[in-house]
Structure formats: structure tokens, C-alpha cells
Amino acid sequence: MDTKGILIAGVGGQGILLASDILCRVMMAADLDVKKSEVHGMAQRGGCVTSHVRYGQKVYSPIARKNDVDILVSFEKMDTLRYLYFLKPEGTIIINTEELYPPAVNLGDAVYPEDIIESVRQLFGIVKVVDATGLAVRAGNIRAVNTVLLGTLSSCLPLPLEIWETVLKNTFLPKLLEANLKAFQLGRAV
């Protein structure tokens, strides 16, 4: 099996790093080699956060090159457009509909694009649009946006559901588990 790549992207504070940790543990549980890479530090303060996850029989680089990622999971609608160049032409995109305005948009100096989903659909065949915040609220925890999106991601990967559920059970404290399992199922059903 060649090395495959998933890119999780969004804004600091959205739970991206936990999501990619869970994804890596799922890959490990499936007996695959896995590496992930992200940058901490100043990026936490509302800046862009990306986490590359690469998996296969033997993984060298933890980050992908252009046109090399199989699935992009974008936690923020506009930021999807920032990372399209990483995707293979036949790649899959999962887009959260949440909009987080960067400073220039807040100040009225720039406009938040309105045609994001349409323009992505014109370029890529498989685009899953998820109202992850809405589904997280339905699952009973607004913070579970990342688990919703992992659920959607899981539906694009050929891995048994039990592995995902076991890893989720080992990740979340009992009081948070129920909402996160629900969030995962809602995301998976999208």
C-alpha cells in the first residue's frame, strides 16, 4: 500500500490536533505505520492550523507535497480554499460550513467569499458539506465539532467502525463519551 495522506485544516481552537491524534490512533489500531505533523506556538492564537496525517506500510515524510493528499478535512469554510493545492485531482473534500472571520474581514477591509462550496464543487468530484456545529449541538456538546468531522471522514475510509469506536472510547472521559459517540455517528451519516 502506497502512503496515503489526509490534511486536517482550520483555525486555532477548533480541536484539530485532537482530531488528528484520534485519526493516528485509528491507523495504529489498524496495524498501519502513521506519522502526523503540525506546528504549535503562535498558530494557536486564532491563526491557521493544519495537521498532516500520512499512513501506509512505511511512511517517510509526515507532510505531503502538492497534489498528494487524498482527503482534505476543512474545519472552516473559507480555509478550504487555502489548501486545495495539496489535494490529488481525484481527492475528497469534507467542508464544515462554519465561518470564522479573519481580522481583515472583521475590520471591513476584506470580504469573506460567498461562492466557496460552488467553486470547490467545480474543481473536485467528491465534496461533503457538513454543518458540524449544528450536528455537535444535536449530539449534546458544541465542542464535539471535531468528532462530527471525524465521523464524516470515517465514512470515506475503508476501516472497520469498531476500531473508531474503540479509539473514541479510549480518548474521551466517560462524561464526554456519549455526546462524542453521538457526534461521530451523526457525522458518519452525512
Binding site: 502512503t3 483555525v11 486555532g12 491524534d21 493516528c24 490512533r25 495504529m28 505505520d33 502513521v34 506519522k35 502526523k36 505533523s37 503540525e38 506546528v39 504549535h40 506556538g41 503562535m42 498558530a43 494557536q44 492564537r45 486564532g46 491563526g47 491557521c48 511512511v59 517517510y60 515524510s61 509526515p62 507532510i63 505531503a64 507535497r65 502538492k66 497534489n67 498528494d68 473559507m78 480555509d79 480554499l81 487555502r82 486545495l84 493545492y85 490529488k88 485531482p89 472571520y101 479573519p102 481580522p103 481583515a104 474581514v105 472583521n106 475590520l107 471591513g108 476584506a110 470580504v111 469573506y112 467569499p113 474543481l123
Partner: protein
């Protein structure tokens, strides 16, 4: 057992597994998690020192007593610790001493991207460089073995990409080492006065020759002969980037980057037709290979600046990267990091930015205040520099600078290296104003303890220095305390202190809004009453993430045209508003109110 570990966690684990029970450091991205992870292991002693030089000296002392010691810092921290390091290279270390330097190619969270391999050569200290988490865990162990065997400090160099990537690591049971600590005096070896240091200087060269021989057979300096057409000499993460795109080329993968295995490199060069030196930042390997009279290509095609990735390596070697499809270019609004909603720095820097003064900045979250709309920080060089620079500028400006120069520095940064320059200000009759932005923690790197927080790295209660008393003891007579959530009072105090002759210090105190121990919730989320908002945009000057500008449209759906009375209104995102109330203090029309 297999575990997914970051490079930093793996370094801590490796140190623990090989019997290290003593570590000191100062937080700094990308190194911080090494100390944090190490401190959680059973039976270890780990401390945050006030700065890297102190951490290094603590480490040297412990090693001289016979302990195996790890000292941890980011690349620029080694500058601070360089003074003791250059000389401990002469004395040797009795126990074992490994210095972890986490470099930051691409300056993800740093003021420069210096290549600390140069220090290894400059200081005549061997350096190992792991490429992933498994190697990070193994190499720290090898570093301790080399340190013991050759009586030398050893560098372990990581980079952000190695430190902050996670990969699968096989864990082993920790070794317990016998206690070899004791008081042993050896003045000739450890008292570096000229007559002794001259002798040790000779020993350093002998040690380097031994290490050069050791490097030749060091198993982690590995030759992989595949396609003889192309050979790549590389180390660290660059090896994985290259293997990813060129799995069939031949490689020398260096585990030890100083000293280099000259014989191995000569042999490799003779077995491949085209030789490359692949390394981020400086041509450290390349220049040494070329000095051997070997033809090698390096910085002629690989960039000097920024970290690499597989695409950069591919592009450089074959002239183009694997472009399958080019997407239409699109300009998107940037998303730079920003002060958090409710950040106490925002109020202080909003006021400072409007005082028409030069603001000499320092290293911390508040450095972000240089950006629009706050526009309230005008220099940032290194830890502690704000104070000395403010003083120097104030002196150079003389009368012109009276009441016009402010230095700003965080609490942790002040304790790191702000005390001596403040003493200098008192001593040399300075006229500048220093503001200590005291948020009760080392916020930038993720809430680390420091000597004013009342806790140690391992969670023990301890003294917490009183910053106001400390500042007075350094000779500053005018010391004031303000709450940066109170804009009016903050402005008044800053203006008064600027007007006074002589040096003054204002301590702007309010806990970091993310600091869980303080359990503060500044207030309830606020909203804008659209009926009252006049669209004056005053609140937008705070650059607070929840406050956005919404353009008003007229009944036909068109955007209001310039010249029409009100162009838009402010809106507040209640999901991220902290309720700090700064915007409410600014609003002249009482339009910012509590949520219903």
C-alpha cells in the same frame, strides 16, 4: 509496547528510559513539551530555571556532582546559555550532560532561524540529529553514552518538524542507574583560569580527534547504496522528505552531524555519480564535504531559508515538482495569529498605541500588538531586550525622548532577562518607562510556571517573587500597579508616569484569559444594540476577534454609498466574546450591552 509520540515526548521518554533523572530548561517553542513530558515521570527531578543560562549552569553543577543531566531549550536559548557552554566544553562533565537544542527553520514561533549545528562546531561539542520520534528516543540515549564515554557535553538537535511531528515509537522499560553522585574536587579540571584552561584546551582537541574516529563507525551514520546514479548526504527530517520522493537513490543518513564521518563520506562519494548535500538552513555539511575536495551540490539548488518539504526537494533535484493540476489562483484574506478574546494585553496596548510613544517590545504574546489595528509595538529583538533598548533610545534622544519611550516586557520574560537591564536603568539615571505585562504565567508557550507564579514545574508550591518589591529593590522608586481591563485608569497612570522624570515601572496585572488555574471569567458575553450603534468603528480599533463590521444595505439591497450617514454597524460573536468589557468602555453611544 507501541505508542504515538511527538519528537519532544520521545526525547523525554528516551531520557527517562536510559536512567536520566535530572533536567532543567526554560520554555520556548518548539522545545517546551520535552520538559513538561519529562517532569511527569516517576522519580525524576525537573525544573524550569528563570532562563537558559541558569538552566545550563544548574545542569553543569548536577553533572559535576556525577548526575546524568538533560538541559533543554529552543535554538535562541542556546545564545543565552552559550557562555557557560563554550567553557564546559573545556572542563568536561564528570557525570553526563546532554543539551537539547530545538531549532525552528521557517521561524514558526521565533525571531530568527539560526542553525545551531554551527554551535556544535564552534564549541567543539558533538551533535546528534534525529529524524523522527523513534530516533529521537534512541538518539538521546546515544547522546548520554557519548557524553559519558568522552567526558563531553553533547548536543541533541531537533527541529520544529521533528519536535512537533508524531510517529510510532516502541517503548522500553526504564533503566535504573546506580547513584554515582558524590563531592569530588578537581580544581585543575574545573577551575578555568588561564593556566588550567590552556591544558584543557589541548584536551578538547584530543577529544575531537577521538570523536572523529568514533563517528566513522557510529551505526547511526548509515550508508544506503541503491541507485548509484544519485547519492544524497543528509540528516534529520530532510532524509524523510528525500526518501519520500526518491526512494531508490543512494543515501548517507547522518545521525551525528558533528564531527562528520569523513571516511564514510569519501567512500560514498566514490560510489555514486552525482552527489548532493541536502540540509535545511546553512550549508553546514556541504562546506565540509567540499573542503575534502569532493564535488557536491547543495545550496546551489536547495534553499537557504525556511524548512523543506518533499516538494521542495523534488523540485530542486529534478527541476520541477509533480504537478498534476494547477488550480486557479485566488487571493484570500490572511488569517494571522491574534491576541485572544479577553486577552489582558489588548487593553494595555490599545492605550499605549494612542500615546504617540516609541514602544520597545519583547518576546511574548504581546509582540502581536505590532499588528493593525493596535499598531502598538515598534521593536522586538530578543528576550529582555525591551528594557535595555528603551533606555538606550531614551538616552540617545535626550530631551526629545522625554516621556516618549516605553519598554514593555512580560512577567516571565522580565524574570528571564529583564532584571539586569532594569538595574542598569536605575543606575544610569534613565528616563524611560517600563511596563511589565504581568499575566501571572508564561502564556506564549502554554502556561508554564516561573519564579513569580508560586509553583514549580513539578507542581510543588513555592515562593512567588513580588514583582513590585523586586523592581523597587532594583532601584526603581516609582512603581505603579494597573488593571489593563480598566482603560481609563491605565491611560491616566501611564501618562503620569511618562511625565515624571527618572525611570518608572508600571505593572499591568491581569491573568491570561486562557489560564485555567485562575478560573477567571472576565464577564458575560456582550452584544451590540443595532438601534444604538452609530457605526463609529471605535470598538473595531481593539482588533478583538468577536467584533466584526457589518455593512448596512439600503432597502433596495445595494450597499450604502460613501457619504451616506452610517455605513455599517458593529456586531459581536457571542460564542467567542469573553465579556472583558473593553469595547463597552470605548462605546460612546452605550450600544454594547449584555446578552438578553
Amino acid at each position: 509496547m507501541k505508542e504515538l509520540l511527538s519528537g519532544n515526548e520521545a526525547i523525554a521518554r528516551g531520557a527517562y528510559e536510559c536512567g536520566v533523572r535530572f533536567a532543567a530548561g526554560y520554555p520556548g517553542t518548539p522545545s517546551t513539551e520535552i520538559m513538561e513530558a519529562f517532569a511527569t515521570y516517576e522519580g525524576v527531578y525537573a525544573e524550569w530555571a528563570p532562563n537558559e543560562k541558569v538552566a545550563m549552569e544548574v545542569g553543569i553543577g548536577a553533572a559535576l556532582a556525577g548526575a546524568r543531566v538533560m538541559v533543554v531549550m529552543k535554538h535562541v536559548g542556546v545564545n543565552v546559555a552559550a557562555d557557560p557552554l563554550f567553557t564546559v566544553s573545556y572542563t568536561g562533565i564528570n557525570g553526563a550532560l546532554v543539551v537539547v537544542s530545538a531549532d525552528d527553520p521557517s521561524l514558526h514561533s521565533s525571531q530568527n532561524e539560526q542553525d545551531n549545528r554551527n554551535y556544535a562546531k564552534f564549541m567543539k561539542i558533538p551533535m546528534l540529529e534525529p529524524s523522527d520520534s523513534q530516533e529521537a528516543k534512541e538518539f538521546i540515549k546515544l547522546a548520554f553514552e557519548i557524553s559519558e564515554r568522552f567526558d563531553t557535553p553533547v548536543f541533541l538537535r531537533s527541529t520544529t518538524r521533528v519536535s512537533h511531528s508524531k510517529s510510532v515509537v516502541t517503548l522500553e522499560a526504564p533503566k535504573t542507574m546506580e547513584d554515582r553522585t558524590a563531592i569530588r574536587c578537581n580544581a585543575e579540571k574545573y577551575v578555568m583560569v588561564p593556566m588550567n584552561a590552556r591544558k584543557r584546551r589541548v584536551e578538547v582537541e584530543k577529544r575531537m580527534r577521538l570523536l572523529e574516529a568514533f563517528a566513522e563507525n557510529f551505526p547511526e551514520n548509515r550508508m544506503e547504496i541503491n541507485d548509484p546514479e544519485v547519492g544524497i548526504i543528509t540528516a534529520g527530517m530532510s532524509y524523510h522528505y528525500a526518501k519520500d520522493v526518491f526512494p531508490d537513490y543512494s543515501y548517507v543518513k547522518l545521525g551525528m552531524v558533528h564531527p562528520l564521518p569523513v571516511g564514510l563520506i569519501r567512500e560514498f562519494a566514490s560510489r555514486v555519480r552525482k552527489l548532493y548535500a541536502l540540509e535545511e538552513l546553512d550549508p553546514f555539511i556541504e562546506e565540509q564535504v567540499r573542503a575534502l575536495g569532493i564535488e557536491v551540490t547543495g545550496k546551489a539548488i536547495f534553499p537557504y531559508t525556511n524548512e523543506f518539504n518533499p516538494g521542495i526537494v523534488e523540485q530542486a533535484i529534478i527541476g520541477h515538482d509533480k504537478i498534476l493540476r494547477t488550480l486557479p489562483e485566488r487571493q484570500l484574506p490572511l488569517r494571522p495569529p491574534n491576541l485572544c478574546p479577553g486577552c489582558p494585553h489588548r487593553g494595555l496596548f490599545y492605550v499605549l498605541g494612542r500615546l504617540k510613544v516609541f514602544i520597545s517590545g519583547d518576546i511574548g504574546c504581546y509582540t502581536l500588538s505590532f499588528m493593525k489595528p493596535l499598531d502598538a509595538l515598534h521593536s522586538c529583538i530578543c528576550m529582555g531586550a525591551s528594557i535595555g533598548m528603551a533606555h538606550g533610545m531614551s538616552k540617545a534622544l535626550g530631551e526629545k525622548g522625554r516621556g516618549k519611550v516605553v519598554g514593555v516586557i512580560g512577567d516571565s520574560t522580565f524574570l528571564h532577562s529583564g532584571m539586569t537591564p532594569l538595574l542598569n536603568m536605575a543606575y544610569n539615571h534613565s528616563d524611560a518607562l517600563i511596563v511589565i505585562c504581568d499575566n501571572l504565567t508564561t502564556a506564549m508557550t502554554g502556561m508554564q510556571e516561573h519564579p513569580a507564579t508560586g509553583f514549580t514545574l513539578q507542581g510543588e508550591k513555592t515562593m512567588g517573587v513580588d514583582l513590585a518589591k523586586l523592581v523597587r529593590a532594583l532601584g526603581i522608586k516609582s512603581v505603579r500597579l494597573v488593571d489593563p481591563y480598566d482603560l481609563k485608569k491605565t491611560r491616566t497612570v501611564l501618562k503620569e508616569e511618562l511625565a515624571k522624570p527618572g525611570p518608572s515601572v508600571v505593572i499591568s496585572r491581569r491573568a491570561c484569559v486562557l489560564f485555567k488555574r485562575e478560573k477567571l471569567s472576565p464577564g458575560k458575553p456582550l452584544r451590540v444594540d443595532p438601534e444604538k450603534c452609530t457605526g463609529c468603528r471605535l470598538c473595531l480599533g481593539l482588533g478583538c476577534p468577536p467584533i466584526a463590521w457589518k455593512k448596512l444595505v439600503d432597502p433596495s439591497g445595494d450597499q450604502k454609498k460613501k457619504g451616506e450617514k452610517q455605513q455599517g454597524i458593529a456586531v459581536i460573536d457571542l460564542n467567542i466574546c469573553s465579556g472583558c468589557g473593553l469595547c463597552r468602555q470605548l462605546c460612546k453611544s452605550d450600544a454594547i450591552v449584555e446578552q438578553i
